[in-house]
C-alpha cells in the first residue's frame, strides 16, 4: 500500500517555505503521493523521515537476482495476490537437485540431462533455471568436488545447499562470480552465513521453522545490513506451505511487513515424481519464486513448466500470433487453406487439429487483436471484408492453384459475402477445432 498524501505530510517539516517549488508542504505531500515530485526537492526533510518515506515507497516484495548475465533470474518484485488484479511478474525459477552423494559419473550424466531440458510448444520456449547441489555425503570435501564438477559442466545458475557454513565457506569463492544462492542461514548459523554472502555478494536463503521465527531471523539479518534474501519458512507439508506462503505474500503486500518482503522458495518432499510435480503445481499457484525439485524427466517437467507459463501470462493482454501464412506439413499448390483468428489459443487449437488431420495445409490467422472467433466476430474484427483483404494482402492465391477457403463453423454466416468479395469458394468448417480431422478427411482426403 503506498502512503497517502496526509501520511506523507505528517513526516514533512511543515515549514511551508516553498523552496521545493510547491507553495505548501501539504501540496508537496500530495504531489509525492501521486508520484509527481521527488523527496530530494525538500532541503529540510529529516534523515528519519527520509528513511521512513523511502522504505514506504519501496516495492512490497524486493527483487532478488540469482546468477549473472543472460541466465540471471529475477525473483520477487511481485505486487499482487490474485492474477486477475494485475499480472504476476516473474515466473518462479525451477532448480533441480544434484546430490553430492552421487558418483562423479552419476553427477555428470544427471547434469547433462538437466542441461538438455528445454521445451518448445505453441510457439513458446520453456527452460529450467538452476541446479541445486545438495550436501548429503558424510565428507565436506564431497560437496566442494560436486559443486566444482557441476559448475564446470553447466551454464545454469547454482543453488548451494549445505546448511553448515564450514562446508559452504571453501566452495563459495570458487563459484562466487556466478552469484549462486546460498542455502541457508538459520537461527544458529546466520552470522557466519551473512558474512559469507556479503563478502561474495551472493543471494542468501533464510530458513526458519515457522513464520514467527522467520520474521525474527530476517530482522536480525537485515540488521546486519544484508537484504539479498530468499525466504524458506521451513514448511515441509503441502498444506502448511500453502498457508505460510500465503501469509508471507499477504503480509508483504497488504501490510508492508518488511521482514516478509522477499521472494519465497519451496522445497518438494514427495518421493513419487508424479506426486512431486503436483506438489510443485501448488507452489507455483501459491507464490513461490523458486522451487527445488528432484524429477528431471521431460514428461514431468513439460506439464509443470506449461502451468508456470499459463499462470504468469498477462490477464489483460491476449496472447497473439503473427498474421501470416502458416504451413503445416509438406504443403503444395493443392493444400487446403484454413482461416482463423490470431488469438494464440484459437490458432494453436486449429494448428494442432490440422496437424492431426495429417493433410498438409495452410492456416491464415487474421489479426483480430487476439480475440477468439466469436468475440472477434461480435466485435466487428472478423468479417468478410477483413478476411478478403487479408488473404489478398498475404497473397495466398500465388501459393495454391485451387480457390477454396475454409472458415470456422461459428462464422458460417460470412460465407456468402466472402464468396462475393473474393470469388473463392468458401467451405464452412466445424464449429470446434476438434472437428477438423474428420472435416478434413471428408473434404480433402
Amino acid at each position: 500500500m503506498a502512503l497517502t498524501g496526509l501520511e506523507i505530510y505528517k513526516q514533512l517539516p511543515k515549514k511551508n517555505c516553498g523552496e521545493c517549488g510547491t507553495p505548501t508542504c501539504l501540496a508537496f505531500a500530495m504531489n509525492l503521493a501521486a508520484g509527481k515530485a521527488s523527496l530530494d526537492a525538500c532541503p529540510y526533510v529529516s534523515p528519519e523521515a527520509r528513511e521512513a518515506l523511502e522504505s514506504a515507497a519501496a516495492p512490497p516484495i524486493a527483487k532478488v537476482i540469482l546468477g549473472t548475465g543472460d541466465k540471471a533470474v529475477e525473483m520477487g518484485d511481485e505486487t499482487e495476490l490474485f492474477r486477475h488484479d494485475k499480472r504476476f511478474n516473474h515466473e518462479p525459477a525451477i532448480a533441480l537437485r544434484v546430490s553430492d552423494a552421487l558418483s562423479k559419473d552419476e553427477v555428470l550424466s544427471r547434469v547433462q540431462s538437466i542441461n538438455d531440458l528445454s521445451f518448445d510448444r505453441v510457439g513458446q520456449h520453456y527452460t529450467v533455471q538452476a541446479i541445486a547441489v545438495t550436501h548429503d555425503a558424510q565428507e565436506p570435501e564431497a560437496f566442494v568436488q560436486t559443486v566444482e564438477l557441476v559448475a564446470a559442466n553447466t551454464d545454469l545458475n547454482l543453488v548451494l545447499m549445505a546448511e553448515d557454513p564450514a562446508v559452504l565457506t571453501p566452495v563459495v569463492p570458487k563459484v562466487a562470480a556466478r552469484k549462486p544462492l546460498l542455502y541457508a542461514a538459520n537461527v544458529n548459523n546466520y552470522e557466519a552465513m551473512v558474512s559469507l554472502a556479503k563478502e561474495h555478494g551472493c543471494p542468501l536463503a533464510v530458513k526458519a521453522s515457522g513464520l514467527e521465527e522467520l520474521a525474527g531471523l530476517v530482522e536480525k539479518i537485515t540488521g546486519l545490513g544484508y537484504k539479498q534474501l530468499v525466504l524458506d519458512p521451513g514448511a515441509r507439508s503441502l498444506s502448511r506451505a500453502v498457508a505460510d506462503f500465503t501469509q508471507i505474500r499477504r503480509l508483504a503486500i497488504k501490510k508492508r511487513f518488511r521482514p516478509f518482503g522477499y521472494p519465497i522458495m519451496a522445497l518438494t518432499t514427495s518421493t513419487d515424481p508424479l506426486a512431486e510435480v503436483l506438489e510443485a503445481v501448488n507452489y507455483i499457484a501459491k507464490y513461490a519464486s523458486l522451487i527445488v525439485l528432484n524429477t528431471i524427466a521431460k514428461a514431468h517437467l513439460l506439464p509443470l513448466l506449461s502451468w508456470r507459463q499459463n499462470l504468469y501470462t498477462d490477464p489483460q493482454v491476449p496472447i497473439r500470433v503473427e498474421e501470416k501464412i502458416y504451413e503445416v506439413g509438406e504443403v503444395n499448390e493443392n493444400s487446403p487453406v484454413y482461416i482463423t483468428t490470431n488469438f494464440s489459443l484459437t490458432y494453436y487449437s486449429v494448428e494442432g487439429e490440422v496437424e492431426s488431420s495429417r493433410i498438409p495445409s495452410y492456416i491464415i490467422p487474421v489479426d483480430t487483436n487476439g480475440l477468439s472467433v466469436l468475440t472477434a466476430y461480435a466485435d466487428g474484427k472478423f468479417d468478410a471484408e477483413k478476411i478478403a483483404s487479408v488473404i489478398k494482402k498475404l497473397g495466398i492465391e500465388n501459393k495454391v492453384k485451387h480457390r477454396t477457403l475454409v472458415i470456422p463453423g461459428l462464422v458460417a454466416v460470412l460465407k456468402g459475402k466472402l464468396e462475393d468479395l473474393t470469388g473463392w469458394k468458401v467451405l464452412v468448417g466445424p464449429r470446434e477445432a476438434s472437428g477438423i480431422p474428420s472435416f478434413a478427411r471428408n473434404n480433402f482426403a
Partner: protein, 323 residues
C-alpha cells in the same frame, strides 16, 4: 513484537450441495456426498472452515468412446458395459462419484433412443452405490427428451443433471424441480453469464443449494488461466456474500485434458516432450491440481492414475493448517 497474522474475515460461505439419496431418503445410494460449504479461499483452513473435501467423479459413457489408447487400456474389459465400467471406477480406481456422459444419444453419432439412455442410467445406478452425475450429448433437442426421461426414471436418486445453459435451461430446470435432482449450470468461461444463469435458474424456484457451476474450463496449456481467474473471482464473490456466485464448482478436467496434443502425441512426433503415458496422466492431473487451487469442488476425470494422484494431493491439502 509477536507476528500478527493476517486472517480475512469472510462474510459468507460457498453453498453446500448434497448429491445422491440413500434408501431412507428415497433413493438407492449407499451414501450421499456433500460438496462446498467453504468459508475461506481454497485450503485456507487457517481462516475459515473447509468442511468438505473436493471430490473426483470418473467419467463413464453409454457407448464405447473414441478415447486415446492410454485411457482405453485402463477400461478395455468394461467399456462396452456402462455398469461394469462404473463398478470398476469405484471399486478398483476409487472414484468418489460416477459421471455418466450420454454421448450415445447424439443424433449425429450413434443416435441411441431415449429408452436406451435411460437403461444406461439404470444400469449404472444398479452397479454402483455412489451418487451419480448424468450429462447429455450436447444436442439441445435430444438432450431435452433424454434428460427429462432420465430425471423421471431416476426420481428420488437426487442426481446431478446437466447441462443447463443460458439459452437452454428451462426444461432441465423444470425436470430437476419436479423429480428433485440437482442441476449443472454451464457458462462459457464468463463470470457474468455464470451469475446470470444462476439467477435465471433460481427464479424458477430452484434453491441455490441444488445448483453446481460449470465454468467451461480450458485445460493446461489451452486457456486454463482464464478458468483459474474466473474461479478465483467466483470464490471471492461467494465469500463476500454474492449468493448468485456461491454455488460449488465442477470442472470437466478429463474431457479437456485428453483432447490436447500434449496428452496423447507419441514420442516419435515430439521427442522433446518425453514419455507419452506419464505426460498424458500429468496433463490431466496438473489441470485438476491447478484448478483445485482456484476453488474446484468436483473434478470430472478419466485416467485412474491421474485420479489417484489428485486424490492424494487433495488429502494433503485437507490437512489443517490453522495457526
Amino acid at each position: 513484537m509477536p507476528l500478527q497474522l493476517l486472517k480475512e474475515k469472510n462474510r459468507a460461505a460457498v453453498q453446500k450441495v448434497t448429491l445422491g439419496a440413500t434408501k431412507e431418503e428415497g433413493g438407492t445410494r449407499t451414501h450421499t456426498i456433500t460438496i462446498g460449504g467453504d468459508a475461506a479461499l481454497p485450503f485456507h483452513h487457517f481462516e475459515g472452515e473447509i468442511p468438505h473435501r473436493p471430490v473426483v467423479a470418473m467419467e463413464v459413457q453409454d457407448i464405447e468412446p473414441d478415447w486415446p489408447d492410454a485411457l482405453k487400456k485402463c477400461f478395455v474389459d468394461v467399456m462396452k458395459e456402462p455398469g461394469r465400467w462404473a463398478e470398476k471406477c469405484v471399486k478398483e480406481y476409487g472414484a468418489d462419484l460416477i459421471y455418466l456422459k450420454l454421448d450415445g444419444a447424439d443424433p449425429e453419432g450413434a443416435n441411441r433412443s431415449v429408452e436406451d439412455c435411460v437403461a444406461a442410467v439404470k444400469e449404472v445406478l444398479q452397479a454402483v452405490g455412489v451418487p451419480l452425475i448424468v450429462v447429455g450429448c450436447g444436442d439441445a433437442e435430444k438432450d431435452k427428451e433424454v434428460l427429462e426421461a432420465v430425471a423421471e426414471a431416476a426420481a428420488g436418486e437426487n442426481l446431478l443433471l446437466g447441462n443447463a445453459e443460458q439459452d437452454n435451461y428451462k426444461s432441465l430446470t423444470a425436470a430437476c424441480l419436479v423429480h428433485k435432482h440437482n442441476i449443472i449450470a454451464r457458462s462459457p468461461l464468463d463470470i457474468n453469464i455464470c451469475k446470470q444463469l444462476n439467477i435465471l435458474i433460481t427464479e424458477m424456484n430452484m434453491p441455490p443449494n441444488r445448483i453446481v457451476i460449470d465454468p467451461s474450463i480450458g485445460s493446461l496449456g489451452y486457456g486454463i488461466e482464464y478458468a483459474y481467474s474466473i474461479m478465483e473471482r467466483t470464490r471471492l464473490g461467494a465469500l463476500q456474500g454474492d449468493k448468485m456466485l456461491s454455488m460449488p464448482v465442477l470442472c470437466t478436467v478429463g474431457y479437456e485434458a485428453w483432447r490436447t496434443k500434449e496428452a496423447v502425441a507419441p514420442v516419435s512426433d515430439f521427442p522433446g516432450w518425453g514419455d507419452t503415458e506419464e505426460r498424458g496422466i500429468l496433463w490431466e492431473a496438473v489441470t485438476a491440481t491447478a484448478l483445485l487451487q482456484a476453488g474446484a469442488h468436483l473434478l470430472l476425470m478419466r485416467h485412474p492414475k491421474a485420479v489417484a494422484l489428485v486424490k492424494e494431493n487433495i488429502e494433503k491439502l485437507m490437512v489443517s493448517n490453522a495457526y
